[in-house]
């Protein structure tokens, strides 16, 4: 039910005349806030209007207008649509803006990313360093005038491929014969690489000083990763330890930074779909869902009824599969190697078999299209979905529960070990199961329904302690709820066409902006797309739940034992493909 607060519209212009103007560009919405009043307006938004969750912060480089824009998307954890506000600055270095970290702590890493890729300085940011690239990297790659080593053309398709497409390795066209770009007259021999003193200085800053009466011990700095079996990929974490207690922590990422945003801005709208598969590579269906929903919003096209149901079925299957892996991997990290994860992978294989039969690939499904899906679910695959949903998966989830949940060692290991409380979770913009395990019933499928989720009867799984046990159990709750949705969807699914549009490889997207979000198994997966009417997007940004959730890692872990750190990290359920993009 929509409450009064949910539907209340906010007229910022009336509240802050002369400080805020409505964004009147065609296809755009929201407000443009004066740079000087940004903090004032944002504080009012949080405190007066109840926008407690700053979901997305990103930059856009409007080079033709000689402007840089930073876009903020704020939401209420009680539900309802969001509010977008922007701030514009002249595109003359140094570009400076006030930081939002004091109001919404969840902006910390996102602002660092903007500094890294756009070169916008946030003046009172507590720890403004590069985040995805390394210190010393030349240039700000997401600026429109940045050209990388293998740059060929502004937009795909490239003209060199057809009709006279003699095969040439991209290396042959670059003066350095590789994917490289150096400043003029660069001399590699005399170059002194920058060390990581900034990282250790900021680690020093957050590390708790010795309190009085405490035994004087050495603090040791430990680097975990990027090659570490339990960091779920190539994440590196620098930790200061006092004995076994973590006193300070800084994640270092970017080891899998694959330039999704930059490549996406060169791709046509259609070509981005397979790239989204590779964001959160456990849940390509959920990623497809998010992106396609966003572009459909921009194109203002309907989705075929049957396709909506197929989408929901695929997304929920994907969620079950993701949570199964979560359980298996968590227990792997806790030291019980292999057996539970082998059982989890068994069910996952059966689900992937369905994805393979439906879309053609196990992991990188590339199944959604604008207006629908690629092809109908084959009959035998539909039967298999029904078999799994009705017979196998409920029994197997029960078995998993019997297998693990009363295991005394596991219970002792998980109960009472803190992850996050509700207040911190919201402050750090944490979404997904971690937020719900802290007692906030915030699920986008309910809070801001998309697709046909409003037609299903299901509960938002929520638990209240915010400790590891709750974070673990909520995954089981969510799997059960997903099964409920699946049962209803399989019953209600109508016959009919699977796409409202004709299949076409060049879609027309009117100019404008759109922010679409879905509840991916890891949290709020958002896409911010700006179109200027051309075949490729002007700006394509992914608001990755894993990345934003990592902001809270420092708070989660400080004061914990190093042995618990691995499990606490596992609770966040991060995927590096999504963190680094």
């Amino acid at each position: 039910m929509a409450t009064a607060l949910q539907t209340q519209t906010v007229d910022l212009v009336a509240r802050f005349p002369e400080k805020v103007t409505a964004d009147s560009r065609a296809g755009y919405s929201g407000f443009i806030v004066n740079k000087e009043n940004l903090v004032e307006v944002a504080t009012a938004l949080r405190d007066e209007f109840g926008y407690d969750l700053l979901s997305n912060v990103t930059g856009v480089d409007y080079i033709a207008e000689n402007k840089m824009e930073v876009v903020y998307h704020a939401f209420r954890t009680t539900g309802g649509p969001g509010l977008v506000f922007k701030v514009q600055v002249e595109r003359v270095d140094p570009i400076e803006l006030p930081s939002m970290v004091g109001i919404w702590a969840g902006a910390e890493y996102q602002e660092r990313e903007i500094w890294d890729l756009y070169g916008i300085k946030f003046t009172d940011h507590p720890d403004l360093r590069r985040i995805l690239l390394w210190e010393g990297f030349e240039g700000f790659p997401l600026r429109k005038d940045y050209k990388e080593g293998f740059f060929e053309e502004e937009a795909k398709p490239f003209k060199s491929r057809w009709p006279d497409g003699k095969h040439v390795f991209a290396e042959m066209k670059n003066p350095f014969r590789d994917n490289l770009k150096f400043p003029e007259n660069f001399d590699p021999e005399s170059y002194q690489p920058e060390d990581e003193k900034d990282l250790y200085a900021s680690l020093e800053r957050v590390s708790k000083p010795l309190t009085e009466g405490e035994m004087k011990t050495d603090h040791i700095v430990v680097n975990m990763g990027p090659h570490h079996p339990s960091t779920h990929g190539v994440l590196r974490v620098a930790v200061t330890l006092n004995g076994e207690t973590i006193t300070g922590l800084k994640p270092v990422m970017g080891y899998l930074h694959r330039n999704h945003d930059k490549i996406g801005e060169r791709n046509t709208f259609l070509q981005i779909i397979p790239y989204t598969d590779r964001l959160d590579y456990f849940n390509s269906m959920a990623n497809n869902f998010g992106y396609v929903t966003t572009v459909e919003k921009l194109m203002k096209i309907p989705v075929a009824e049957r396709a909506e149901y197929i989408r929901v079925i695929m997304a929920e299957m994907s969620r079950i599969q993701n949570h199964l892996i979560f359980v298996g991997m968590l227990i792997n990290d806790l030291g019980s190697m292999y057996t539970p994860s082998l059982y989890a992978f068994e069910e996952r294989e059966l689900i992937l078999d369905i994805f393979e039969a439906v879309s053609g690939a196990r992991m990188m499904c590339n199944y959604f299209r604008f207006g629908g899906v690629v092809r109908d679910v084959p009959e035998d695959a539909m039967q298999k979905i029904k078999d799994l949903v009705h017979d196998r998966l409920p029994a197997k989830i029960d078995e998993m529960e019997r297998f693990l949940n009363q295991n005394e060692v596991l219970v002792a290991r998980l109960t009472g070990v803190k992850v996050l409380n509700a207040e911190d979770a919201i402050r750090y913009s944490v979404t997904g199961p971690v937020l719900r395990a802290a007692g906030v019933p915030y699920d986008i499928r309910r809070a801001d329904p998309y697709s046909v989720y409003d037609r299903f009867d299901f509960d938002v799984a929520v638990r209240y302690h915010g400790d590891m046990m709750d974070n673990y159990l909520i995954r089981f709750d969510e799997m059960r709820q997903s099964l409920r949705i699946l049962e209803q969807a399989l019953k209600q699914i109508p016959e009919g066409p699977i796409n409202s549009q004709k299949p076409q490889y060049q879609v027309r997207v009117p100019a404008g902006e759109a922010y679409g979000r879905v509840e991916s198994p890891k949290g709020e997966l958002g896409f911010y797309v700006v179109s200027n009417g051309k075949p490729n997007p002007y700006r394509y940004h992914v608001r990755a739940p894993s990345f934003v959730n990592l902001t809270a890692l420092e708070t989660i872990c400080s004061g914990s034992k190093i042995a618990d750190f691995v499990a606490q990290l596992a609770m966040l359920d991060i995927v590096m493909g999504e963190v680094d993009r």
Binding site: R161, G360, Q406, V409
Partner: protein, 207 residues
């Protein structure tokens, strides 16, 4: 009782362990072969699978669904004298739609007139860039490029496939994707029939 949960869990592993042998016995009693047969593999991938789950590639293989896609290949029709006639007209749609831009096509030009001939002179796909998305096959208007089922293509060097290596006969395509092949053939025949009917209808009017 402390330790009950652990025992319960061990019970689950024990059951999984014994399931393998129970299943073996039940297959043996029914006089069927559980291993190295298609039936056995199909059962191990079904909802009723229990016990051992392994499909022992390369001795036995998973059953590929029709839509399975790996890397692209070009379809050719076998000509009368064994000549390979590629369906490709080098229209370039696959090269345009390819997300990582790994397709290179050289169009054939008639040496006399300089006009393009619907046939590729050269065709390259860099298999080490290809992301197996299947867009080329999906948007090809001539059903000339299709996604292969063959995944055993690892090699000791970089894989840039040329026209010769890409071409596979239409019969191979019909074998790996029978449903798609038949549907496309029917559509083609229907189209030709419609064209002929139109020509018939137009002929008397013209004369």
């Amino acid at each position: 009782m402390y330790g009950k949960g652990i025992l319960k869990g061990l019970g689950v592993t024990l059951k999984r362990f014994t399931d393998t042998y129970l299943e073996d016995i039940s297959w043996w009693l029914r006089g069927k072969k559980r291993y190295y047969t298609e039936e056995g593999v199909a059962h191990r991938s079904s909802k009723n699978t229990r016990g051992i789950f392994t499909v022992q590639y390369p001795e036995e293989q998973l059953i590929q669904p029709e839509e399975f896609r790996y890397v692209p290949f070009l379809v050719y029709e076998e000509g009368a004298d064994g000549k390979k006639e590629p369906r490709c007209t080098s229209c370039g749609i696959c090269a345009k739609v390819c997300p990582p831009q790994c397709i290179w096509i050289v169009r054939t030009n008639n040496p006399q007139t300089g006009k393009p001939v619907p046939e590729p002179a050269e065709f390259y796909i860099d298999m080490d860039i290809c992301m197996n998305c299947g867009f080329c096959a999906e948007y090809c208007p001539f059903d000339a490029i299709k996604m292969d089922h063959d995944f055993d293509i690892a090699s000791y060097g970089r894989n840039v496939y040329n026209l010769e290596k890409l071409l596979k006969p239409a019969s191979y395509y019909a074998e790996i994707r029978p449903l798609n092949y038949n549907r496309e053939e029917e559509a083609r025949k229907a189209k030709e029939a419609a064209k002929a009917a139109k020509a018939d209808a137009a002929a008397p009017a013209a004369s």
